[in-house]
C-alpha cells in the first residue's frame, strides 16, 4: 500500500479507501457525456474531522481533492480532471436538528434529498424543503454548491435557502459561516458580513461544506397541480408573469417534449399550489384557473389538461420519478444543459432548442422552471443518448455544446456549467470580475488542490 493510501486508511478506516481498479473505474466516470478522468484514490469520510484530516494531507502532498455528493449533476463537475482524491461525502448523512419554530434543519452535507423529504414528512409533517426534482440520492450539500432550484422555486434558488454553515477550507481549517460562528443557532448568515458567497456556487473549489442549515417552509395539508397548455411559446412568459403576480403557485414549470408524440409542439405548464383547507385550495384554483388564465381559454389560446390522479401523483411526487428521459434511446443516458436566464427568453430557448435537437437527431426535451416571482428561469435542454454507442454520445455532446453557446447568445448564464461552458463563461466575463474570482480562489486554496480544472482560467 502506498503511503498516501495508508494515511487515508488511518483517517477513515480501510473499508472506506480504495485505489482498486473497480472503484477508480466508477469514480472516474460521470453519468453524463463527459470523458472519463482517472481518479487516484476514492475516500468516503464520515465526519468533518475526517474531511479536515484528508484535506490537510492533500494540501501537504499537493494532491487534488474532488468533493462528490450524489453525483447526479451530470455536467462532469465532480470529475477528477487532474486525478487525485475523489471524496464521496454520502456517508456524512446525519440529520442533526430540525428547529420547528424557526423552520430550519441542520444537516450534514451528504444527506440525500430523498432522506430529508422522507424525514420531514414523517417527523415534521408541517415542514417541507425545496426538492430539486433530481433522483433522491442528490445531496443537500451538492445541490447548494451548484445553486440548485426546486419545487419551492417561488422562494428562490435552493442556495438562497441556506442558513449558517460549516466548511472545511482547502488548507484544512474548519470554519463556521454565519450565526453558528458565535451562537448555538444556525438560522442565519445576515447580519454578519456575507462570507457564504465564497463557497456557494463554487463547486467545491474553495472549500468543502460539511454541515449546513437549510430553510424549511410550511407544508400545507393539501397540494395540487393544474396543467395549462398553450401552443404558442410566446405566451409562456406572459402566463408565468401573471401567475407569479398572484404569489399562489409554489412551482411553475413549462415543459415541451417530442416523446411521446402527443406532446409534440405543445407547452405544458405545471402549476403547483397548496392549501390547508379545501376552501383555500379551491379559492386558489379559481383565482389561478378562472380569474387569471381564463382569458386564454376564452380566446382559444390555451386550455387546461384533465389530469388523471395517477399523472397528478407523478407530478407531485417527491422525489419526482422521470421514467422516460434517460431511456428514450434505450441507452441509459441523458445530459442536460441548464441556463439561468430571463423568463422572457422562453420562446427563443424553445425554438432554438428544437432546432438543435433536430440537427442532432435527438428527440427534444425542454423545460423552464420559473424562479422567484419571474426573477429568473432555469431553462434546460436535455439530450438522451445511448451509453453503448459512442456516436450517440458524441452527438449529444455536440448538442450540449451548441446549447451552451445559445445560452450566452440569449443573455443567459450557464447553470452548473461543465468545462466547456465554464471556459465560455470566463472568456466572456468582465475581466475584473474574473480577476476577483481567481484572487479569491488563490487566497483560499493556495496550492490549487480543490476540484482543480473548475473555475480556472486555462
Amino acid at each position: 500500500m502506498d503511503p498516501i493510501s495508508e494515511s487515508l486508511a488511518g483517517i477513515v478506516g480501510q473499508d472506506y479507501v480504495s485505489t482498486e481498479p473497480e472503484e477508480l473505474y466508477i469514480y472516474s466516470r460521470d453519468l453524463g457525456t463527459a470523458e472519463p478522468h482517472q481518479a487516484d484514490y476514492v475516500v468516503a469520510p464520515k465526519t468533518a474531522e475526517e474531511v479536515q484530516a484528508i484535506v490537510k494531507l492533500a494540501n501537504k502532498e499537493k494532491i487534488p481533492v474532488v468533493p462528490l455528493g450524489g453525483g447526479v449533476s451530470l455536467t462532469g463537475i465532480v470529475m477528477p480532471l487532474h486525478g487525485g482524491i475523489v471524496l464521496d461525502l454520502k456517508r456524512m448523512d446525519r440529520i442533526i436538528e430540525v428547529n420547528n419554530r424557526a423552520r430550519y434543519a441542520v444537516l450534514e452535507a451528504g444527506v440525500s434529498q430523498g432522506k430529508l423529504a422522507a424525514y420531514l414528512e414523517k417527523h415534521h409533517p408541517n415542514l417541507i424543503h425545496s426538492e430539486p426534482g433530481a433522483p433522491p440520492q442528490a445531496t443537500i450539500g451538492g445541490n447548494v454548491v451548484i445553486h440548485g432550484q426546486g419545487d419551492l422555486a417561488l422562494y428562490g434558488f435552493n442556495s438562497d435557502m441556506v442558513g449558517a454553515f460549516e466548511v472545511v477550507l482547502p488548507t484544512g481549517e474548519l470554519c463556521k459561516i454565519g450565526s453558528c460562528s458565535l451562537s448555538p443557532y444556525w438560522f442565519s448568515r445576515p447580519p454578519l458580513p456575507e462570507l457564504g458567497g465564497l463557497f456557494l456556487g463554487w463547486f467545491g473549489t474553495t472549500g468543502i461544506i460539511t454541515k449546513l442549515a437549510l430553510k424549511l417552509y410550511p407544508r400545507r395539508r393539501m397540494r395540487d397541480v393544474e396543467m395549462f397548455l398553450v401552443e404558442d411559446a410566446a405566451l409562456v412568459p406572459d402566463v408565468a408573469y401573471k401567475l407569479t403576480h398572484l404569489e399562489m403557485a409554489e412551482d411553475i414549470v413549462a415543459w415541451s417534449q417530442e416523446v411521446p408524440p402527443m406532446h409534440r409542439g405543445l407547452h405544458n405548464i405545471n402549476i403547483v399550489f397548496s392549501g390547508d383547507t379545501e376552501k383555500e385550495l379551491e379559492f386558489k384554483r379559481e383565482v389561478i384557473c378562472e380569474d387569471t388564465l381564463g382569458e386564454y381559454v376564452r380566446t382559444g389560446d390555451g386550455g387546461f389538461v384533465d389530469l388523471q390522479p395517477q399523472m397528478k401523483g407523478r407530478i407531485l411526487s417527491r422525489p419526482q420519478i422521470d421514467r422516460v428521459t434517460a431511456d428514450i434511446k434505450k441507452g441509459g443516458g441523458f445530459e442536460y444543459v441548464g441556463a439561468i436566464i430571463p423568463v422572457d427568453t422562453y420562446p427563443e430557448c424553445w425554438r432554438e432548442g428544437v432546432e438543435i435537437a433536430e440537427r442532432h437527431d435527438i428527440a427534444y426535451t425542454l423545460l423552464g422552471r420559473v424562479i422567484g416571482r419571474c426573477h429568473a428561469m432555469m431553462f434546460s435542454w436535455t439530450y438522451a443518448f445511448n451509453r453503448a454507442d459512442m456516436a450517440s454520445i458524441q452527438q449529444a455532446r455536440q448538442a450540449l455544446h451548441e446549447s451552451d453557446e445559445l445560452i450566452l447568445k440569449l443573455g443567459g448564464v450557464p447553470w452548473k456549467p461543465g468545462i466547456h461552458a465554464q471556459k465560455m463563461i470566463v472568456d466572456s466575463m468582465e475581466p475584473n470580475t474574473l480577476k476577483l474570482m481567481m484572487k479569491m480562489k488563490e487566497v483560499l486554496d493556495p496550492n490549487g488542490i480543490m476540484n482543480p480544472g473548475n473555475w480556472e482560467v486555462q
Binding site: Y25, I26, A44, G114, K115, K122, P136
Partner: protein, 397 residues
Amino acid sequence: MALQDYHDIIHRCFRCGYCKFPTNHIEANNCPAYARFRLESYSAGGRLWLIRAWMNNEIKGSERLARIVFSCTACRNCVERCPYRFGDEIVNMIVAAKNEMVEKGLVRSTVRTFLENVSKYGNPYGEPRESRLEWAEGSAIPQYNGHEYLYYVGCVGSYDTRARKATKTFGQILLRSGISFGTLGTEENCDGNEVGKLGEETLFQVLAEGNVQQFKDLGVSKIVTLSPHSYNAMKNEYPRYDGQFEVVHASQLLRDLVRSGKVDMSNGFNAKVTFHDPCFLGRWNDEYDAPRQVLRTIPGVTLVEMERYRSGALCCGGGAGNFGTDYLGGSEDSPARIRVREACATGARVLATACPVCLTMLDDALKAEELEDKLAVKDISEIVAEACLGKKASRRQ
C-alpha cells in the same frame, strides 16, 4: 440466461440511485452491500457498470470484482425501486455475472467452499448428512411417510444452532395442532436457492431435479417450510423441473392454523414486537401479511413497524449465500447490525422474523451490538409457541 444475453440492456442503467433507497426514501442505504461499504461500486448500479466494463474488457476479472458482485444478497430492493422497465432484470444480470465468474474460477475461496460443501454434503456447512436431524432430538417429529405435508427444513434450519431451535419449535406447533406432517430427516438435501443465486446454475439444476424426483417418489404433494429461501426455490423454480407442489411458508400455515382455531394462544405474549420482512418471503414472493396477521392475533402483542418495512425493508445481509460467505460482516455498518439498531429504536422488546437465515444473522448482530438486554430476536413460530405452550404469560418482555 447467460451474461452475454444481457448485452443489449446492461448499459441502460443510468445509476440514478433509486436502487439504494427503500420505498419511503428514509435512508440511502437500503442496498445491503452499499450499506456496508458506502462506495458506489457496491450499489446495484455500480455493480452493473462494473459488470459491463468487465464484459467490454475495460476492467479485468479480479477477486475485488468478485467480492463486489458476490456481495449482492439478491434482496431485490433494486428491482423493487428501479424506475426503468429493465429493472426487473437487475438481479438476474448480477446472478448471470456470478455464473460467469464461477465458470471462470474467479470466485473467492469462501464461495468455492460453500458450493463444494453443498455438492458433497448437501449443505453449505460441510456437516455430515447424519447430523441433519439433530435438531429434532427429543421430539416426536415423524419421518415423512405419505403425510399431508412434507416439512422441508432447509440447511440453515437443520444445522445452525440458533435456527435449529426455531425449526424444532415450529415442528412442535405442527404436532400440537394435529397436522399430518413428516420430515425427510437425514435424507433431506439442500434446496439450492442460494446455490442458484450464487450463480452455480448447474449445481442448482442437479439439486432441483434430485429434490423433485425424491418428493415425487415419496408422493409429496404439499410442502411447508420455515425457510423463505426454500419456499422461493420450490414455489418458483422447481416447476421448471416438473416439480409442481403446493408450497406454503410456515407463516402462512400458522396464520391458517390460528384462524381455524387449531392453535390456542390464550396464554398470550405480552410484548411490543417489530417484524423484519425476509427478502425471499416479501420482495420475492409478495408475502408481507401472513406473519403480521399471526403476530396481531397473539394476545398481548403490540406490533410496531420499523421505518423500513414490507417492500422497503432492509435485508439482513444473509441472502445469496452471504450468511456463509460473509462478505458483509465485520462492521457496525453490516446490514444486520443496522437492522437490530433500527428495531431497538422502535422501542420493541422483540424483533420477530420468519426466516432461519434472518434469525441467525440478526441474532448474531444483536450480540455484536450488545443489545441482548434490550431486544430478543425470535422467529414468529417461537412467539406463537410461547403464547400457546403456556410460558409465563404475564411476563413483560
